[in-house]
């Protein structure tokens, strides 16, 4: 498999505080990679750096193009869809408008309505709420909307920041089932940051473990999940 994303020596700071100290990781076309780590390890910052929301240095090769220094909107137009922590839906707009916005940079206007219908098939609850303001949805519905909106870009790569955050166990299960279907059937490539390591390792092919802005362990998800230290610290065995 070819590398879809290859990150080398990624560094970033917030003001004077250095948050990332030269990360290197990669993602295969059609694969799922997860970044694990404690609170404050720099996982969210890494995702934000990938989509140009944080100034960074180093190299982020996405389909051979370097993303460092590009604007967030250009990176989105290259096919990177980010579902941020806290979801970032357009709360004052309707569900359907949110989905339209997801596709706003696409040029194949004719297919958009078809894709919206497809999203409603994936997430039937959104269909019921298509004319409702996004801000009035429940947490789970908002997270689904955020993912659906990201998919509307027909992304080459999806970045998911804590998709399980604030969701009930049942909804989390449903969410990850959908993600795994999307990965299997639509060949969506994903980079997932997740506090729930067991869930993330369950869906991922590759995993990286971050500690205070550096990668301390990496490998196939199965292997990482079997590691004694990881099991104790992140999986609770």
């Amino acid at each position: 498999m070819s590398k879809l994303l290859e990150v080398k020596d990624l560094r970033a700071s917030y003001g004077a505080v250095r948050v990332l100290h030269g990360l290197a990781f990669s993602l295969d076309e059609g694969g799922v990679t997860t970044l694990l780590g404690a609170n404050g390890a720099g996982k969210t910052t890494a995702l934000r750096a990938l989509c140009g929301m944080v100034k960074c240095s180093g190299e982020i090769l996405f389909e051979g193009k370097n993303l460092v220094g590009r604007s967030t909107e250009d990176i989105a137009r290259l096919g990177v869809a980010h579902v941020p922590e806290g979801r970032g839906t357009f709360t004052s707009m309707t569900v359907e408008e949110n989905l339209h916005l997801g596709a706003i940079s696409r040029s194949d206007k004719g297919n958009i309505q078809k894709d919206i219908d497809k999203m409603y098939d994936h997430f039937p609850r959104l269909r019921q709420r298509r004319t409702q303001q996004a801000g009035t949805l429940s947490g789970g519905e908002q997270q689904m909307l955020a993912i659906a909106r990201a998919l509307m870009l027909r992304p080459r790569l999806m970045l998911l920041d804590e998709p399980s955050f604030g969701l009930a166990p049942l909804v989390v299960k449903e969410m990850f089932e959908i993600l795994s279907v999307l990965n299997r059937e639509d060949k969506a490539s994903m980079l997932i940051v997740e506090q729930n390591a067991a869930l993330a390792l369950g869906i991922a092919d590759e995993a990286y473990l971050l500690e205070t802005g550096s990668i301390v362990m990496s490998g196939p998800a199965k292997q990482i999940g079997a590691d004694e230290n990881v099991r104790r610290s992140y999986l609770g065995y």
């Binding site: 929301m53 967030t72 909107e73 004052s92 339209h100 916005l101 706003i104 940079s105 429940s138």
Partner: protein, 292 residues
Amino acid sequence: MELFTQQVLAGIATGAIYACMALAVVMIYQAINHLNFAQGEMAMFSTFIAWQFLEWGLPYWLAFILTVIVSFVAGVAIERVVFKPIENAPVLSHVVIFIALYSVINSAAGFIWDFTVKSFPSPFGSSPLFGSSLISAHQGGMVAVTLALLLLLYMFFSYTRVGLAMRAAAANPASARLVGIRVSWMTALGWGMAAALGSIAGMLIAPVVFLEPNMMISILLYGFAGAVLGGLTSPGGAVLGGFAVGVIENLAGTYIPVVGSELKLPIALVVIVVVLVFKPAGLFGRVVVSRV
């Protein structure tokens, strides 16, 4: 009662001026989430440009269209040149830039065209409308143009992709960037559209109040008031708000003793503030419901 009806009608006629301006105010508010203090001056300057075209002998509608185009470009240019470099500055710094722009444009207009009052033609004529002495053909035309612009704006924001993108960019810039919207160009577009709308307002208002560099000061204030009263998120509300302000102003001047013409503006504003105390998002503003 007859006096009342007359005052209400006269209020609607002046209200058309405010409604027109209120529409431009809402336009810029949608794009940048601020009130632009320099907006009246921009409209005034546009009107002077139209006047200059007419002086050069251009036919009215050609001058009109050229002015709208020039104003649109100028609006985009102001955003790109003046605001883009300081887009991360605090909000109050932006407010100060509005004040600076106000000063620059007002002073430049006075310098170029001096401060003498000039008359500006109306495309609709000044004959009484339907034989009524209260509303002239020009004022009728203004109401019609305002409503037509309102309809156009509504369709633009509701049914076009650019309109949707503009709303998204204003509502949540960070998320808008994530879906690939070029937020800063949307802002520039908003400036351009607001400037174009303002130029139309200016050209419609000038025949009524005459053309001079200070013509827009109080009109912009009434326009703000109308927009805020109607709800800054609702173009339709802003237009209604503009008409309401015209009526309130007239009635206050007529029925509240001691007031006289000097205190008309403050009284109108006080009435609006009282309304806002009970309806904090304006009469037609949308309250965004979200979960805490």
